[in-house]
Amino acid sequence: MTLMAEMGQRAFNLGVPLAIHLDVTYRCNERCVHCYLDHDDHGEMTTAEIKGVLEQLAEAGVFFLTFSGGEVFMRRDFLELVEYARRLLFVVKIKTNGVMIGEAEAQRIRELAVDTVQISVYSHRPEIHDAITKLPHSFERTIKAIRFLRDQGLRVTIANVLMTPNLSDQDGVQKLAAELGVHYTLDPTITPMMDGDTSVLALRIPGEELKGVFENPALVPNQEEFCAPPPPPTAEDLEGYSCSAGHSFCYISPYGDVFPCVQFPLPTGNVRQQKFLDIWNLSPQMNEVRAIQAKDLTTCSSCSHVSSCTRCPGLAYVEGSMRGPSTADCEKSFYRTGVPTANMLQQGLSKPRGFSGNPVPLIQIRPMPALA
């Protein structure tokens, strides 16, 4: 175990909120087809309010702070907030689309010793990327920003969300990241909107396609181990917890609402009305989330995947119960290993059902050159 993983485990055991994801705005200059947010300002926290929250977070022991949105640079005070966070000695990570980052912003981010900048790139083909963001020339501007940031010596990660419109572009994006000299990360998860609307789930890539992703050695280097059938769960596995949500991690919205995770829309309190630590320590909802062990899960406790599944309690919550299965993760476990999940067996399915809602109107995508 690395030293950092050891400290992460210690924070988890002690219930210290080691990492926070803070969305400073939901406003955005892009309109990505898969986005789970609305883009209006319903009363964002002011500069002073966010600074106050940052002070509380530092006092609570938060070390890793992710600023995200919306698009963080839609706030004119964004770099002022980063500067304040760095003065409070947080490890700062920024998630952005990069469109508003020029040379001057890149230089300032470097001066402030930001740890990582994560930038969404959906395709190596400009027309596909722009069709997903619905912002003309966004690909060009995003790539330009990546170059500015990289030239400053900053650590940049390209985050590639995989969905139906960009399915099969992952190799191209990975190659692009290598050419740019930056890191690459792939995420095939599309989440329902914060208001519970599940129409965006129609963009999830079909389960069968996940198999191809998991079996691609360029994306999954330790394939044999990763795709191996799950070992039988031990008593210790059943005492385990799903993830760090509510244990050493939580999410704060631009309006001050605190949730166990950005993918877990269970309100636990608001920092405009309560102290952050009071919410963290005393919220009944937060305590309920952190009390759930694998043995308490309604279907998953008897699933052979229980020790290795990436079950997201937030997605399960959106599906109806935070103790229930998350269908998206059932799919991943099945297509990763070929072993049916308890959820599938209970429903008499030989393969996961996948999303069966009404598909949303899709954007116009030009056919791939090879197919044109």
Partner: protein
Amino acid sequence: MSETYIARSSGIAARMLAGEMMVMNSMDSTFFTLNEVGTAIWQAADGRTPLREIVRARICEQFDINAEEAQADADRFVTELSSHGILLVSDHPFAEESAR
């Protein structure tokens, strides 16, 4: 005899967890944890207090350690952290701006 002054680099992130100070150099993500004695030196690294004084007041007195031994340990500690860009070292006090 010349003095040694130490200041925390502006490129670092730090937080206390369960009595240990976690320190990360944001430039290269080097990650350290400091024990209680290291943490005491770290916290006193204001750029204006001589290291000898920090060792006397914060280490020898609080941890009941022999002065010579404590000074040698502190020198090693400072050399290591400065080699990773985590502490700045000078034989003159730092200006207010660079010492936080």
